[in-house]
Symmetry: C2
Subunit: 156 residues, 2 copies
DNA sequence: CTTGAAAAGAACTGCCT
DNA sequence: AGGCAGTTCTTTTCAAG
C-alpha cells in the first residue's frame, strides 16, 4: 500500500491527468495517441497514478434536473453546542438524510456547509423543516439557492 | 437529441444509477450480474440513460492533497457592482484562474461561491491577494477553510 | 521507453421470445 | 421490455529490443 512515493509527477503525468479529468472515458490507447505514447506506456502510467492514490476513482456525472431534482441549496449550519460528541452526532445524523449530497466541515462563521437537492422549493421546505432543523445541536442556518454552476479542471 | 425521455425511470434504472454513481468503472456485464440482467440488457439501459442526458459523463476523482494542494478554501464573493455586464465580466475573469475549481452563482448574502485550492496557506494568500481581490467588481469576500468533506450518493 | 502479439473481457449487433 | 449468440474492439499482460 504505502508505495506512497510521488510528488514527482512529470509533465506527461500531468497531461494524462488533465485529459482524464475532462473525460474519464478516454482509453489508454487514445490517450497515448494524443500524447505521443504507445498504448502500454500510457496504460502503465495510468495504473501507477491509481496505485499511488492520485486517482481515487471514477464517478458518474448525473443531471439532477432531469432526474426531477430541480433545486439545489447550500446550507450553512452553525452548531449551538460544540465539542467532539456534538460534531460526531451531527455528522452521523446528517449523512443519513438522502437529500444531502455533500457534508463539508469548515472553519469560519458556520461549522458545516451542506449541499442539498430537492424536487422543488416546497420539497426543499419539507427537507429543511423536518430533516435539517431537527438535527442534533443545530443553531443558526443560512440558505443559498444555486442558480448556476461551472466546474473547471483545476491547477495542473 | 430531443428524444426527450422521461421522468419515468423504473426501479432497475435507479439501481443502475446508484451502482454507477459509486463506481463508474463497473462494466455492463458486472452490473447485469449484480441486478439479475443479461449483459446486453444492462448495456442498453446504460446507453439509454446516456442518450437521455441523465448520465452526463464520467469524471476522475483526484486526490488533491497527494498532488500537493493541501488547502481548499471556499470563498463567498459579493459584487460591488451588479447588473448583467458585471456578472459576465466577473465570471469570465474568475474562470481564468487555475486555482478556482468551481464557480457557483448563488442567491443570498453573497453572489458567488468559489472553491479554491492552493498548495498551502501562504500560497492561498498569494491567490487571494493577486488573483481574487483584483477581479472586476469584487466587493465583500468571506473565506472558509475546508477541514473535511464527505460525499454521499444522493437521493435515488 | 518501444513494438508485437496473445488472451481476456467488454462493447456492440441482430435475431428471437 | 429481456435473453442468446456471435462479432468486433479494447483492455491487459507478456516477451523481446
Amino acid at each position: 500500500m504505502t508505495t506512497l512515493s510521488l510528488t514527482d509527477l512529470d509533465e506527461t503525468d500531468r497531461a494524462i491527468l488533465r485529459a482524464l479529468a475532462a473525460d474519464a472515458t478516454l482509453s489508454a490507447g487514445a490517450l497515448g495517441r494524443r500524447l505521443g505514447l504507445s498504448q502500454p506506456a500510457a496504460w502503465r502510467r495510468i495504473k501507477r497514478l491509481q496505485e499511488a492514490g492520485v486517482i481515487k476513482g471514477r464517478r458518474l456525472v448525473l443531471d439532477h434536473e432531469r432526474l426531477g431534482f430541480g433545486v439545489t441549496v447550500f446550507l450553512g449550519v452553525k452548531l449551538a453546542t460544540k465539542g467532539r460528541v456534538s460534531l460526531e452526532d451531527f455528522e452521523r445524523a446528517v449523512t443519513a438524510i438522502p437529500e444531502v449530497q455533500t457534508v463539508e466541515h469548515i472553519l469560519g462563521l458556520y461549522d458545516y456547509r451542506l449541499r442539498v437537492v430537492a424536487r422543488d422549493i416546497s420539497d426543499f421546505e419539507r427537507v429543511l423543516r423536518r430533516r435539517i432543523m431537527t438535527l442534533p445541536g443545530v443553531g443558526d442556518v443560512e440558505a443559498n439557492v444555486l442558480l448556476s454552476e461551472e466546474r473547471r479542471p483545476g491547477p495542473l
